[in-house]
Symmetry: C2
Subunit: 337 residues, 2 copies
C-alpha cells in the first residue's frame, strides 16, 4: 500500500486548460491543510489558490512530497519537466504521480532519486504484494459508495461523508481506491490496477480490522452494471464487506460513460444487485441513502428529483454539492448507534 509524506507541494504544470490540473484542485479542496503551496510553470491555466512556491521554499516549510497534480498529454512525464523534478528531489522532496507510465521507469529520475535518498511513488501501480482475499469478518464498521456508472461521484461522496462524520466527532477514515483518492488520503491502492485475483484482498488490506465504532469510508470504483469494469466493483464490494452502502448516480446521464449503446441500470436494480452480492461477505449490508449529482438540472428540478427519488427508494437522497450529506450521516447515527 502506498504511503505518502505530507505536507504536499502541488505541481500544476504548464497546460492552459485548468481542467488538466483537476487532481491538484481536488487535493487542495479536500486536504488544504496538507498543502503548503503550488508550483506553476509559464502558461499554466490552473490555480488552486495556494501560494506559488519553489522547491527550496517548500522544503524549508517542511514539504514532504511533490505531487504531480496534472495529467500530461500521453500519460507520461514530458522531458521539459525533468529539470523541475530533479530540482524537487534536490530540495529533499519525494515525487508522487498517478501516471500510466511510471516515474521509476525513467532512468534519469530513478538515479536522481536514489542518489538523494528520495522516493518515486507511482500511486497508479501497486507497490507491494497483496494477499488473496479471505472474507473473514473484521471488527469496525465500513461504508462503501457504489454507483450506477463510473464517474458519478463515488469519491466525492465518500470524502463528503468523512468530512461530515469527523465534524460530528466520529472516528472515520476515507479509504482510497483510485489515484486522486490516494493523494487525498495519503495512502491507498488503485484497485483497478491490481491483478484480478487480488482485488478483494486489496480491499481487505485497505480497510483492516479496527475499533468497533470506527468507520472506514471506502471509495467505490466502477459499477456492477459496467460491461468493462464490473469485476473490479464486485471484488471491491466483497473485500470491503460494507455494513452500509450509498448509491451514487448522476441525474439525466443519457448512457454509460463513453458507451453510447449502454443504458444505466435502474436505481432499484443497482440496489438489488449490490445487496444480493454484498451479502456474501456481510449478511447485514444495507443502503443508507443515495447521493445524486444533479448538476445537469436547474435548482428547482434538482430539488424535485431528489424528493421523488427519496420517495421511490424509501431512502434519503442528497446531492453532496447542493445539499450536503448530513441526512446520510443522520441515518448512520440512528442505525448504528
Amino acid at each position: 500500500m502506498h504511503e505518502l509524506k505530507h505536507p504536499y507541494l502541488l505541481f500544476l504544470g504548464d497546460d492552459e486548460d485548468p481542467l488538466a490540473a483537476k487532481t491538484a484542485t481536488g487535493i487542495a479542496h479536500w486536504r488544504r491543510d496538507w498543502c503548503i503551496g503550488q508550483r506553476r510553470l509559464p502558461g499554466c491555466g490552473a490555480d488552486t489558490g495556494l501560494p506559488d512556491m519553489d522547491y527550496a521554499a517548500a522544503a524549508a516549510q517542511g514539504a514532504g512530497t511533490l505531487i504531480i497534480g496534472v495529467a500530461p498529454a500521453g500519460g507520461r512525464l514530458p522531458e521539459r519537466w525533468m529539470a523541475e523534478m530533479t530540482a524537487a528531489l534536490d530540495a529533499g522532496l519525494d515525487l508522487a504521480a498517478g501516471l500510466h507510465s511510471r516515474l521509476i521507469e525513467n532512468p534519469a529520475l530513478a538515479e536522481a532519486a536514489e542518489q538523494r535518498g528520495r522516493r518515486l511513488i507511482d500511486v497508479r501501480h501497486p507497490d507491494g504484494p497483496i494477499p488473496v482475499g479471505r472474507g473473514d469478518k473484521r471488527a469496525g464498521r465500513r461504508l462503501l459508495t457504489v454507483g450506477t456508472d463510473t464517474c458519478v461521484g463515488k469519491m466525492f461522496t465518500a470524502l463528503a461523508l468523512e468530512t461530515e462524520m469527523r465534524q460530528r466527532g466520529h472516528n472515520a477514515d476515507f479509504r482510497a481506491t483510485g489515484q486522486t483518492g490516494i493523494f487525498i488520503a495519503g495512502s491507498g491502492i488503485c484497485v483497478d490496477a491490481v491483478v484480478s485475483d487480488f482485488v478483494s484482498g486489496a480491499a481487505e488490506l485497505l480497510s483492516p480490522e479496527a475499533e468497533p465504532a470506527h468507520w472506514d469510508i471506502v471509495e467505490g470504483q466502477g459499477s456492477l452494471f459496467h460491461p468493462s469494469y464490473a469485476g473490479v466493483s464486485l471484488g471491491l464490494l466483497h473485500g470491503s464487506q460494507p455494513d452500509a452502502l450509498v448509491l451514487c448516480h448522476e441525474a439525466k446521464r443519457p448512457h454509460i460513460d463513453g458507451m453510447e449503446k449502454w443504458h444505466l441500470p435502474s436505481l432499484e436494480d443497482c440496489i438489488d444487485l449490490n445487496l444480493g452480492t454484498g451479502r456474501l461477505t456481510n449478511p447485514d449490508v444495507r443502503f443508507i441513502g443515495a447521493s445524486i449529482n444533479t448538476s445537469k438540472l436547474p435548482a428547482d428540478e434538482a430539488e424535485r428529483f431528489l424528493a421523488e427519488t427519496a420517495e421511490q427508494l424509501a431512502l434519503p437522497c442528497v446531492d453532496p454539492v447542493r445539499t450536503g450529506v448530513a441526512p446520510l450521516v443522520d441515518v448512520l447515527e440512528s442505525h448504528y448507534a
Copy 2:
C-alpha cells in the same frame, strides 16, 4: 495471448508423487495427438503412458515445445533441472511453463533462449497488452462453464463438451483461461493474472467474432460466490457474453474449497446470479444443464443424485466422467439449431 507450438514433449520431472505431474497427465489425456513423448528424470513417479524420449529424439520427430508439466515445490524451476532446460533449447524446442516465477526472469535461461532463437513462454502471465472490454455483441456462439466453487470441473466439462461437439461435426473450440487449459488449447490467457480492469477485455480477446454457427467453449474460473475470486468470474462472464451456461458442481462438497467457514451457494442461487449478471452483455443467456462431479458417491447414489438434481433444476444433469456430456450437447443442438 499466448500461442504454443505443438507437438509437445512433456517434462514430468523427478517428484515421486504422480499428482505433481497432473498438468502433464491432463495434456496427455486431452491432446494425446499433440504429444510426441515424455521426459522423466530419475525418481519420477508419474507416467502419462507416452514414450520416454530425449530432446534430440523429440526434435527429430518435430516437437515444437517442451512443456513443464509438473509443479515444482515453491513454484520455481529447481536449479537441478537447468541442464535439462538448456538441452531442450539446444535441441530447438521452446520452453513453456505455468509457474509463479517466470522462466524469462532466470538470466541463464533467458540468455540461452535468446542465443538459440527459442521462446520462453510463461503461460500464467499475460504476454501482451489486453484491451478494456467493450461489451459489443460479436457474431458466433459462446458457452461458458460456471460453478458453485473453484475446482468443480469447469475445465474438464468444457473440454468434454468440445470433444463431444467435434465428434458430432460441430465447429467448436475450447478457450483456455487457466494455465493447464492453455497447454491443452495451445493458446489462451490466464484471466486471474490479468490486471483487474482488463478481465472482461481478456475474455473478449479469447472468444472473438466468429462464424454464426461456431461455438467457443470458454473455460470458467472461480465462482460468483467465492469471497476471494468472484470479481474474476464476473469479468469473465461479461466478456464471454455466453449464449449458453453450464453449471458445474461437486456433489457432497462440504464447504468452499480451502475455506471451512464458507458454505457453497444453492444451485438455484448460483443459476439466478449468473443469469442476472450475464444478461448485461447477453440478454438471451440461459443454462443448458449441469455438470456434476459425483466421485464422492457410490454409483447408485450418484445416479440418484443426478436424477434428483435434474428434476429440481428442470435441466439435464450429467457427470462428465460417469455419464459423458452428450445430453448437454443434445440441448445445444435442439435449442440453437
